[in-house]
């Protein structure tokens, strides 16, 4: 419970801090608009040629795009800033400040930053999703929404775990910017449902960088494609990744303490 309180405190500070820079909201909104614009152009190019892509209709792909933008907002507001700060701390030897606080170090390094205005993308993504679902004229059922939210949460946790693992393994040999680039590059693959991709890539996007579970699965929930098995599988994978990330983090931390001693 202490953890939640801590996270909330940091989040509040971050929020108050960013509310001072309200112009950033408009900049963010503008950037979201550019991203949505190029995304829509991409979709219209595809559907200028065909009326479905590997079995996904235009409306369904719009839903995928909505989830992709939404999850991108989650990453950039809560996950990426913390991991970047962690990498910088390790690089500059300032991580000690975090390690000497009376709280679980992993929790602490994961909640220190929060970019409030990046949530704009969450809202924009939601709007697109709602538009898409209305287009599909699918009737929303409560169970569907529950499944969607659950899938979304698990997806976010999975992405966080992967970020943390890569940060823990590689932070002392690699420039920060390159890891960010790598993730942004791979995450971009989530723009389309993973079933479009060839097997080897789909496997990678499912198990190595779980973009499949972060974007495609929640989108499946909203387009009546989701099966109970997939949900169970997602749950299992999430638990596995949480444990794995913890282990890798602890090993990384030990080597950090060893190096700085």
């Amino acid at each position: 419970m202490n953890t939640i309180k801590l996270a909330w405190t940091y989040m509040r500070i971050g929020m108050l801090n960013e509310l001072q820079y309200r112009a950033n909201f408009f900049i963010q909104l503008f950037q979201s608009a550019v991203a949505v614009g190029t995304g829509l152009i991409g979709l219209s190019l595809v559907f200028g040629q065909v009326d479905n892509l590997a079995g996904w209709s235009r409306g369904e792909l719009l839903a995928v795009m909505g989830v992709h933008i939404l999850m991108g907002g989650v990453i950039r507001s809560a996950i990426q800033p913390n991991m970047e700060r962690l990498m910088n701390d390790v690089l500059n030897g300032t991580l000690d400040f975090a390690l000497t606080k009376p709280a679980d170090a992993q929790t602490l390094v994961s909640v220190r930053e929060f970019r409030f205005w990046q949530l704009t993308d969450v809202v924009v993504g939601l709007v697109i999703l709602v538009v898409a679902v209305t287009q599909l004229q699918a009737k929303m059922e409560a169970l569907q929404i529950v499944a969607f939210v659950a899938a979304l949460l698990m997806g976010a946790v999975l992405l966080y775990c992967v970020w943390l693992m890569v940060t823990s393994i590689a932070f002392w040999v690699i420039r920060v910017g390159d890891i960010v680039d790598l993730f942004q590059g791979l995450y971009a693959a989530g723009r389309w449902p993973v079933s479009v991709y060839p097997d080897w890539l789909r496997t990678g996007l499912t198990f190595l960088v779980p973009v499949a579970f972060a974007v495609t699965v929640p989108a499946e929930a909203m387009t009546n494609r989701l099966t109970g098995e997939t949900m169970l599988f997602a749950l299992g994978l999430t638990l596995l990744f949480v444990i794995l990330a913890r282990v890798v983090w602890l090993i990384g931390l030990r080597s950090y303490s060893g190096a700085s001693a």
């Binding site: 503008f30 190029t38 190019l45 595809v46 040629q49 390159d178 680039d181 590059g185 479009v196 080897w200």
Partner: protein
Amino acid sequence: MRRYIDFYLSSMRISILSQIQYRVANYFYMIGMITEPVIYLVVWSTIANQQGGIVGGYTAGTFAAYYIVWTLVRNMNIVFTPFGWEWRIREGNLSMELMRPMHPIHNDIAYFSGWKFVVILLWLPLAVFLTWVFKPTFDITWMEALVFFIAIWGAYLIRTMLLSLLGMITFWTTRVSAIFELYFGFELILSGRLVPMTLMPQWVQNLSNYLPFKWTFFFPIETLVGAMSTQELWAGVGMQVLWITIGASFLSLVWRAAIKQFSAVGG
């Protein structure tokens, strides 16, 4: 002139020696970078196959060729970014660069072109891998190969000019990221980075003829992938030279104003 050649060689050497130390980081970057064309490639070859094997004149094989060459051209297109300009002004590094008896742009061009040698070296295994996976169809003549080699450097120079111009906005205002994003959005659509220009609606293609973007992506790629006549190939190089000249002229104009601004308010 001798001094400039000497400087370029010296700076390129430094860049190669520095960047080779970061090969792992460079690889991370590159793996992230190739997902983008792989996505486009997968989507468009799926479409081509659904359409009976061909869409807009491209087959799955030529799409593969397009997007594999794309990865090299994209690497050539990496230049000193507008964000770099923002940083160098904010951190005061520009002041030190201005103290040298040489325009700072030379260092940018030299450093990044040195980097290209490291990048291309690292790129080769990836290209082999992509070729093995996606089975591109190529039909390359010597002439095309020659023009391609020239065109990728032309693309590099055009994009250097464009992004430097964009970066110089930072001399006047610091809230620039939105402008940068908008620019990158336009570039994505109008350069052939997203899809080959021939898949775009006619009016977009027409528009792109009057803009520099397609000479940095579509043209260099098409020298290898498309079937251009010798005349078309060299005309394209001519267009690149034209855009480099226009870019350089604008750059020196804006640079003069920028320095005036900079020397008025201090670095």
